[in-house]
């Protein structure tokens, strides 16, 4: 039937004109995206391309790989990359440990209760990251609420340094990243039909076996998507480690800022930026082979 219609269309006297019209229409629709595309090209792609070029220019003004060579030789740079990965891995790990039970709990609540509890995930998601970082700075400082209460309760005797170090950075980062893990994971868990778990029980699986054998594997794509978002966001993080790390936790993005603000060294800053971008895109590309990337990006919202 369809083939017959096609044949008729091809032999119709106005077939060419129709074809041209639909072609023109497709380009016209594509044209609607041009203001957005132009803005992104001019404001992001061109400047980042320029930075890419700058990263290959040495102090002499000619082509050189010295900006990249420095990263391999200098111990300081090695430490910065190590810190960046350490913070990202630990944050992602803690987010998984806290986020999985929370998402599981939310996914099994009745609809109204789930919507209400979901607000506790959405409120931080919508609140300024700077405000949340500031809140932790206030809570965790030497004479802050956490230390005061812990001493009152007898948990420890003297104020503990909870902030301006790795501990404070991780607490703040986990708090900021947790919604990014919970939201896609919750979506994935909601999509798992209860029939599977019931079927497993019918076939003789106990609750533990039904969970680990059936539910958990089905929720893995969602967990993987959430963890990926968290990890990639952590790699480029700046504000929270800068405020809560107190200068002790230096991540790549902070070193880029230092290179520009303190040393005016655009070449070094650009090279660091290019490496950070390459790592980020490399991880996303590798992940996109394992799962659909648009599902990940759409999942967060």
């Amino acid at each position: 039937m369809i083939a017959v219609e096609h044949a008729a269309a091809d032999t119709a006297p106005n077939a060419d004109e129709l074809h041209r019209q639909s072609d023109r229409e497709r380009w016209a629709m594509l044209g609607l995206a041009s203001p957005a595309v132009l803005t992104v090209l001019v404001i992001m792609v061109l400047p980042v391309g320029w930075l890419f070029y700058l990263s290959f220019i040495g102090e002499s003004g000619g082509f050189s790989l010295e900006n990249y060579g420095r990263m391999l030789e200098s111990k300081a740079y090695g430490r910065i990359f190590w810190t960046t990965f350490e913070v990202s891995f630990l944050t992602t790990g803690i987010c998984i440990l806290l986020g999985y039970p929370l998402a599981y709990f939310l996914a099994q609540l009745p609809r109204r209760a789930a919507a209400l509890c979901m607000l506790t995930v959405l409120l931080p998601f919508w609140t300024s990251l700077l405000v949340r970082t500031y809140a932790w700075l206030v809570l965790l400082q030497r004479k802050g609420l956490v230390n005061t209460w812990a001493i009152d309760l007898g948990l420890w005797d003297e104020p503990v340094a909870l902030v301006h170090n790795m501990t404070g950075t991780l607490i703040g980062m986990v708090h900021i990243m947790l919604p990014f893990l919970v939201l896609p994971l919750y979506g994935a868990m909601k999509a798992i039909s209860g029939d599977y778990v019931r079927a497993a029980a019918n076939l003789g699986a106990g609750p533990t076996a039904a969970f680990w054998g059936v539910f958990f594997p089905l929720s893995l794509p969602g967990l993987f998507a959430g963890a990926l978002i968290v990890f990639v966001l952590c790699l480029g993080f700046f504000v929270t480690p800068a405020v809560l790390g107190g200068g002790k936790v230096i991540m790549v993005s902070m070193q880029i800022t230092n290179n520009i603000e303190l040393f005016f060294n655009w070449g070094a800053a650009s090279a660091l930026g290019v490496v950070l971008l390459a790592i980020t895109l490399g991880i996303l590309l590798a992940a996109s082979r394992l799962l659909r990337l648009d599902a990940v990006l759409g999942g967060g919202h």
Binding site: P35, I43, P101, H175, V197
Partner: protein, 271 residues
């Protein structure tokens, strides 16, 4: 208390056996919300230092904020930048989402990926790239530059939110309008747009908040008279803990909760 012994959902265990899960989830939810909320009462403290609960209540930190022209100017800049970003990013993002969705061209997929890259590229790289470009163009510290830079950060959100709405929208309705003589623009404005308006509003709110809360790009390209609120906050956080920040934080929490409530209200009236 009988519900405790009923089975929990499709699992074979009872609520009682899962109390640990409920307790754990409760604690995590508390930890998610409490730190932000606790700043609010603290901002009404009368003392020199932040305390909770405050021994004496006062508005002194709000007065301090209102009495400081610099903070007020920064607030005005942030609001202006947020509104302008929203007004630019929402229409061009919606246009792009519509165009890319309707056009079956093979380029559409690639353009979509290009438009959401600002979400994947580390913000610091965008920030220094934009800074470098603006130095050449003499656009550093201008409101225009800030809005343009924030627009590309907001575009991916608009594209994803509106794009998702278009995917679940039945385009036959627009076809029907057009076959009855409406132009494409008219069909879009009178048939399609009213049905995806909730997503467009959500996208607009997200675009506003993207700009309003943004720190890193603002740190590089805003300054002087056009410093944003977040930029000033960030700078003063690095020096010391000024209780004025608590009052500003409270105001920012109110702004974002309002946006969240608006989004939820619009979302609810849909169903």
């Amino acid at each position: 208390m009988r519900w405790l012994d009923r089975p929990a959902g499709d699992t074979q265990i009872t609520h009682r056996q899962r109390l640990w899960l409920y307790a754990l989830a409760g604690i995590i939810m508390l930890l998610l919300v409490a730190p932000t909320i606790i700043v609010i009462p603290m901002s009404f403290s009368a003392s020199q230092y932040l305390e909770f609960p405050p021994r004496d209540w006062s508005l002194r930190w709000y007065e301090h904020y209102l009495g400081e022209p610099e903070w007020l100017a920064a607030t005005a800049t942030s609001l202006k930048a947020g509104l302008l970003t929203m007004l630019v990013a929402t229409p061009i993002g919606t246009m792009a989402a519509y165009g890319l969705h309707v056009s079956g061209h093979w380029l559409a997929r690639w353009l979509f990926i290009l438009l959401i890259t600002p979400m994947m590229v580390p913000v610091i790289l965008i920030a220094i790239g934009v800074f470098y470009a603006f130095v050449q163009l003499r656009m550093v510290n201008t409101l225009f530059g800030l809005v343009v830079a924030h627009t590309i950060l907001a575009l991916p959100l608009v594209l994803i939110v509106v794009g998702a709405a278009l995917k679940s929208y039945d385009f036959n309705q627009e076809m029907a309008a057009r076959s009855l003589g409406a132009s494409r623009l008219k069909a879009f404005l009178t048939v399609t747009l009213p049905q995806i308006r909730f997503s467009v509003v959500t996208a607009a709110l997200l675009a506003f908040l993207t700009s309003f809360d943004e720190v890193i790009v603002a740190m590089f390209v805003s300054g002087g008279d056009n410093s944003t609120l977040t930029r000033n906050m960030f700078n003063s956080l690095r020096d010391q803990i000024d209780p004025t920040i608590a009052s500003i934080s409270t105001i920012m929490i109110v702004v974002s909760s309002t946006a969240l409530v608006l989004a939820q209200l619009f979302g609810r009236s849909k169903s």
